[in-house]
């Protein structure tokens, strides 16, 4: 079964239709998804700024990370749950959306950046834990994360605006656009 077929099947399930057509539930899920930015990205940004030496310079890096990480993790779980529900409410509309697709790629990059930081320069954190200005590789990881947050937020906000520009139902479109957006 192709991803497109799967999305079509998912869109026809009663739960997806109910969430899509609901008066308040969809808006509540969307609100939770957006406001969790404060918790998830908010706490992550503090860590990123510390890695760049732009805040809490006298606090150990490990302390900032270990004390704030549970809150970031709670935010991430909420984001993924509500995000999955938003996808479930309109699977085909998300799947055939260039901003949604780009957002998933950016999310992958953000995850990769965190993973590389933890596998790389963070292993030697004992040597620079109290440095007001962490080593260059840590600064780059923090800066890259900040850029990726802005990209993720922008792409997420743009998702409902694709229709102003293109729509799989409004053909003909160029082959490259149809490929990128995943039109049939």
């Amino acid at each position: 079964m192709s991803v497109l077929r799967f999305c079509e099947w998912l869109a026809a399930t009663p739960g997806s239709i109910a969430l899509h057509e609901s008066r308040y539930l969809y808006l509540i899920v969307l609100t939770v998804h957006v406001l969790t930015l404060c918790l998830f990205v908010g706490t992550a940004v503090i860590v990123d700024l510390r890695l760049m030496g732009l805040t809490m310079q006298t606090v150990r890096v490990t302390e900032v990370i270990t004390r704030l990480l549970p809150w970031t993790a709670a935010g991430l779980v909420t984001m993924i749950t509500t995000g999955a529900l938003l996808f479930y409410a309109a699977p085909l509309l998300r799947y055939q959306n260039i901003f949604f697709r780009a957002k998933m790629v950016a999310l992958l990059c953000a995850g990769l950046n965190v993973w590389m930081f933890h596998k790389g320069v963070y292993r030697s954190v004992a040597a620079w834990d109290l440095d007001p200005l962490p080593p260059r590789r840590a600064k780059i990881a923090g800066g890259l994360a900040l850029v990726l947050w802005v990209v993720l937020i922008t792409l997420g906000r743009m998702i409902p605006y694709q229709v102003y520009w293109l729509d799989c139902d409004r053909q003909p479109e160029s082959a490259i656009v149809n490929l990128l957006v995943g039109c049939k």
């Binding site: 957006v34 908010g42 706490t43 503090i46 606090v59």
Partner: protein, 159 residues
């Protein structure tokens, strides 16, 4: 000129008419506004969590508050202009009749007033101050006010 007259005048002024005809202007401004939301979330949460005895609880409140205040100010520099621009992207009279808009405006005023008066006084003083109950109350009020701002803000955009 009444408030409604002012909103009508604003609505039909030339730059606002131009901004409303662009499909891209609004979502881009809204994205920057949301980035500011994430930043203010971090700057407010890290201090309020500390007041509640959570998060960076081994550090003195005053130090965390001083570090966070800079980023709170940066977030406001991002949020206020983009918020005003978002307001300008739609018919101003739309907002005049939206309860959520007036709730948000009132909550912003209260939140800023509280943050830079009571909360600042409590968090910035270096001496041991008041009971922990008082600190926790300040954190709960601060979180409630900002939460109201965020919820009402989200509700402005709903059908």
């Amino acid at each position: 000129m009444s408030v409604l007259d002012f909103f009508k005048w604003l609505q039909y002024s030339q730059p606002l008419t131009m901004m409303r005809t662009s499909a891209w202007f609004f979502p881009i401004i809204a994205s920057i506004h949301l980035t500011g939301l994430a930043l203010i979330g971090g700057a407010v949460l890290v201090v309020d969590l500390r007041l509640l005895g959570l998060g960076l609880r081994q550090q003195p409140v005053s130090q965390i508050a001083r570090d966070a205040e800079r980023w709170l100010l940066v977030s406001l520099v991002v949020l206020l202009p983009t918020g005003i621009l978002q307001f300008m992207c739609f018919a101003a009279t739309k907002y005049y009749y939206l309860t959520a808009f007036w709730i948000k405006m009132a909550a912003i005023c209260l939140a800023l007033l509280f943050t830079f008066s009571v909360r600042r006084k409590i968090t910035m003083s270096d001496e041991v101050h008041g009971s922990p109950v008082w600190s926790k109350l300040v954190a709960v009020i601060s979180l409630s006010l900002w939460f109201t701002v965020a919820i009402a803000g989200r509700w402005i955009g709903f059908p």
